[in-house]
């Protein structure tokens, strides 16, 4: 059924259709609307039986989910940014214990400086936590990926993070096709845990593993993620059969047929990029897009296959590896090992900085000329940056960076230095 609703609400309704049994909630923008909506459904009795638990921290949220999942319940929570980092220890733990928790990450920047707006720093900071990480391009996909996430995670006994851009998607009212309960039930069987805490068959979960077996345990976790690479396309196909649309999968290419330049990106920015690509195609530019839906496990082969024919690759990402450049681009480069092509890293949209068609068009044109630096910061205000650098050179106690910059751009009243 088509609906015009907020992205958070759409995700909440989709999660509810998955019949979660335990939901843990701790408020943090921009995921809050999702758990609020779910809480209301539980309180109203429309989502039942289900326990909705208001916990005291994200650390507790993930921990409650761990306990619930280990006891055999389908468990869900949502978080973002600082919240994800605060629960980091438990995030790793859930994966290590093989508990198929599904968590929405409404992607948001990490402080300091504190910033509530969108980028991918949070999810990518935990890219090696052992979770499957899916990135939604739009609210329809966000909704669909949650349904697939439960199926996938429970099949593999692995937790799944569904990442959607904070505010840009979570707070956007859009048209979505909300599935019916029958469709979801047909796609998603009840949770049949591989291991469960049960007095009838007691086991100890979470043993200490020493040097004699730790490597093997880690290898097995890796092997399981590799298995996801095979399962995900199959589940996407099955999804299409029931729900009638393409959603999920490993990667999506757009107009890459004869593309000399291919732009790689994740999340909502793909839409903007596609618009730019369409425009450039109209003027004869051989440019295409490779959207990455699955970031962990990283679909090396699909990415390599998608990019193989191109002359250059521009990886545009909303995250950065300070001191190196890009995170996504580093991963993409691994897929390109042995292929001779130009590779550019573009850091864009950090902390909610708007990514405009205009900037992208300019960027891609420069890329086609191979006039880009290896690492480019899109729309960086060099004047401000240079001013601060000079200031720091001049004064040992040059003051806090963020506040200085705000003052420079006039948000805060200027003060003489």
């Amino acid at each position: 059924m088509l609906k015009q609703i907020e992205g958070s609400r759409a995700v909440a309704e989709a999660v509810a259709l998955c019949r979660p049994e335990v939901i843990c909630a701790y408020p943090i923008s921009p995921q809050t609307h999702i758990v609020e909506a779910l809480g209301e459904m539980v309180k109203a009795g429309t989502l039942a039986p289900c326990e909705f638990i208001n916990v005291e921290s994200e650390f507790a949220a993930m921990s409650v989910a761990i306990g619930a999942s280990a006891a055999g319940a389908r468990s869900y929570t949502a978080t973002a940014s600082q919240g994800l980092l605060f629960m980091a220890e438990a995030v790793f733990n859930a994966a290590g214990l093989g508990l198929p928790i599904v968590m929405t990450v409404a992607n948001r920047a990490i402080g300091a400086p504190i910033n509530i707006w969108n980028d991918h720093s949070d999810a990518l900071a935990l890219r090696d936590a052992g979770w499957i990480q899916l990135f939604a391009e739009n609210n329809q996909e966000a909704l669909d990926l949650h349904i697939q996430a439960f199926r996938l995670g429970e099949e593999l006994s692995l937790p799944v993070m569904v990442c959607m851009d904070g505010f840009i998607l979570t707070h956007a009212f859009e048209r979505v096709d909300m599935p019916t309960q029958e469709q979801v039930d047909a796609y998603l069987p009840p949770y049949e845990p591989r291991q469960v805490l049960d007095p009838a068959e007691p086991v100890s979960i979470g043993a200490m593993v020493g040097p004699e077996a730790f490597m093997e345990v880690r290898y097995l976790a890796h092997a399981k993620q590799m298995e996801a690479l095979k399962l995900i396309p199959a589940y996407a196909a099955e999804f299409k059969a029931i729900f009638g649309r393409d959603s999920g999968g490993l990667t999506h290419t757009y107009r890459c047929e004869d593309a000399e330049t291919i732009v790689v990106a994740m999340g909502s920015v793909l839409g903007t990029i596609k618009d730019v690509v369409d425009e450039m195609r109209e003027t004869g530019h051989k440019i295409g897009v490779l959207g990455i839906t699955l970031f962990r496990p990283f679909p090396l082969e699909a990415v390599r296959a998608g990019l193989k024919g191109a002359k250059r690759v521009v990886v545009l990402e909303k995250s950065m590896a300070v001191g190196l450049g890009g995170i996504l681009s580093t991963n993409v480069r691994m897929a390109l090992s042995g292929l001779h092509m130009h590779g550019y890293t573009v850091i864009a949209g950090l902390g909610g900085r708007a990514i405009t068609k205009q900037s992208l068009t300019k960027l891609f044109l420069e890329a086609e000329q191979d006039a880009l630096e290896h690492v480019t910061f899109l729309d960086l205000d060099w004047a401000i940056v240079n001013k601060q650098l000079e200031r720091e050179k001049a004064h040992r106690r040059s003051g806090p960076v963020a506040e200085n910059l705000l003052r420079d751009i006039g948000v805060v009243a200027a003060r003489n230095y």
Binding site: G96, S157, V209, A213, F214, V217, L220
Partner: protein
């Protein structure tokens, strides 16, 4: 079955594969230590053993355990001076366990319920003659009978019991009790021949006996020379107490002086009061502290109106009074005459200065030797003449019923061995269960039960028993005050406190076993064993 993740998820209880016994440098072992009560009992009773059954209300089992060593519990429960209680570890907590009272309860219970002795030993075909039916003789006869031998007791007096009948007043040992316990022995198949004074032991043995046990007691009173006027009555304790068992009680007059400081002196004085004497005075040459009589008996005597002249000797006995000289203790604690004299009125003087045995039947027994009035016996109670054993008052100066019963038992076992051509070796004794070995935290605080005592007026006028018995509730309580020193009483502490579950509980009456596969040797079991029945020993290298 679950599809368990490798290494992270493990099967329950699988740590049994890890034998932590390899950590151990000391190992706990269960031991049985000798409880101090048992160690102190002259009759060699397994006191703790019978208390164990009494604790759970198994009185018949308790009595049967008791009579494995002593056939006279109802008597012993009255007349024994209970050295067991003096040794009892519980005295360091609150008060000693009232062992004697429980013993009497069991003895009385056995009489009331008609419990009888039994023995499953096959008849040996051997015959043993026991001379004397006092405690030593009865005990020896009983144990021989238990071991399958035929026993005949020859008793010189008209009734059996020896000093128990002719020396101990009725108010301490009612005669129905004495009769009942003797009757049970007769019923057990012991032949008793009364009024048969043996004058030649070898001749008596020759009448078809394989061995002889002598238990003739010490019935001859020791005399001291006291110048006495003709009219004054000077008697001895033995004949006074003996006379109580005959038709007419002895005539002692209104004012009776008893000379001596032993229990017999007290018995006579207290008997005199009950016979109507207005005054009964005990004259003793030393102080109360030095008196050989038991303190509780002195207490009871004082309650009954007996008076004492400490540090006094009788110089002469006149017609209506006696002359006593005051004594003073020298620096060594010996009484020395002071030259101060006093006259006190007296109608009679009873000498309670000790007894000697009549050893006339032992003349011309080759090898048998007598020293200072006592028959010499070896460690197995055998005299110098093979096959002739002796015990009781005639072999030692510690003359109590309990000692005699112990002698009888020991002699019986030695006779049994001798009859088989073996020599008797007593079982090695366990290490003593001293108070320091106990962990007394675990015992409930519980003061001793007070036994009922006969009303004072009746005590001064009748021969009713002074000290009452315990009822069942009290007896159970008293039994349960036992600390079970040195012997497991299945409190489950070791089983419970082991952090490694390395103690196996074998079930009621079966105690426990250590599982050395897992025992790390921490020693908590030994430390927390209330009764000290676990010992830590270094691991063998």
């Amino acid at each position: 079955m679950m599809d368990k993740p490798f290494a992270i998820t493990l099967d329950p209880g699988s740590s049994l594969a890890n034998r932590t016994g390899s950590w151990r440098t000391f190992r706990p072992v269960y031991v049985d230590r000798l409880p101090p009560c048992n160690a102190a009992c002259p009759a060699g009773e397994n006191i703790q053993g019978w208390l164990f059954h009494a604790e759970s209300g198994e009185y018949e089992a308790a009595w049967r355990t008791l009579v494995e060593h002593n056939p006279l519990p109802a008597i012993m429960g009255r007349v024994c001076y209970h050295p067991c209680e003096g040794a009892c570890n519980r005295q360091h907590l609150d008060a000693a366990v009232g062992i004697n009272a429980v013993e009497r309860f069991l003895g009385d219970e056995a009489i009331r319920r008609g419990w009888r002795f039994s023995s499953d030993a096959p008849p040996s075909g051997k015959r043993v003659l026991v001379i004397g039916s006092g405690p030593a003789g009865l005990s020896c006869a009983y144990h021989l009978r238990r071991l399958g031998h035929a026993v005949t007791i020859d008793e010189a007096a008209a009734q059996a019991g020896g000093m128990m009948r002719y020396g101990i007043p009725k108010y301490r040992l009612p005669r129905d009790i004495l009769d009942a316990e003797i009757a049970r022995l007769i019923d057990f198949g012991i032949e008793l021949r009364l009024n048969r004074k043996v004058s030649d032991v070898l001749a008596a043995k020759a009448e078809g006996f394989d061995a002889v046990f002598l238990g003739v007691g010490a019935h001859i009173a020791k005399r001291a020379y006291i110048p006495a006027g003709d009219a004054n009555k000077v008697l001895d304790a033995v004949s006074v107490l003996h006379g109580m068992e005959e038709a007419g009680p002895p005539l002692l007059g209104r004012r009776v002086v008893v000379y001596g400081g032993g229990n017999t002196a007290l018995d006579v004085a207290r008997t005199a009061r009950r016979l109507g004497a207005e005054e009964a005075i005990i004259v003793y040459r030393r102080t109360r502290e030095k008196m050989p009589a038991h303190d509780f008996e002195v207490e009871e005597a004082l309650q009954e109106g007996i008076t004492f002249k400490w540090l006094s000797t009788i110089k002469e006995a006149g017609e209506e009074d006696i002359l006593i000289e005051k004594m003073a203790l020298d620096e060594k604690g010996f009484p020395q005459p002071t030259g101060e004299f006093e006259r006190i009125p007296a109608d009679s003087v009873v000498l309670a200065l000790g007894q000697e045995a009549d050893l006339s039947l032992l003349q011309n027994v080759p090898g048998l030797s007598i020293e200072q009035g006592l028959v010499k016996v070896d460690a197995t109670m055998m005299t110098g003449h093979a096959g002739i054993f002796a015990g009781g008052d005639m072999v030692g100066n510690e003359r109590t019923v309990t000692v005699a019963v112990g002698h009888g038992k020991k002699a019986a076992r030695a006779i049994d061995a001798w009859l088989k051509g073996e020599s008797y070796v007593p079982a090695a004794k366990h290490e003593l269960a001293t108070f320091e070995r106990l962990n007394t935290w675990y015992y409930s605080d519980a003061p001793k039960t007070v036994r009922p005592v006969l009303d004072i007026i009746r005590r001064q006028s009748t021969f009713d028993e002074v000290l009452g018995g315990l009822d069942e509730g009290n007896a159970l309580f008293e039994a349960r005050r036992c600390l079970s020193c040195g012997n497991c009483f299945e409190c489950d502490n070791c089983y419970g406190v082991c952090p490694d579950n390395a103690v196996i509980k074998l079930g009621p009456g079966q105690r426990f076993r250590f599982n050395y596969d897992y025992c790390k040797g921490c020693g908590i079991c030994a430390a927390e064993c209330p009764c000290g029945a676990i010992k830590m020993v270094p691991e063998e290298i």
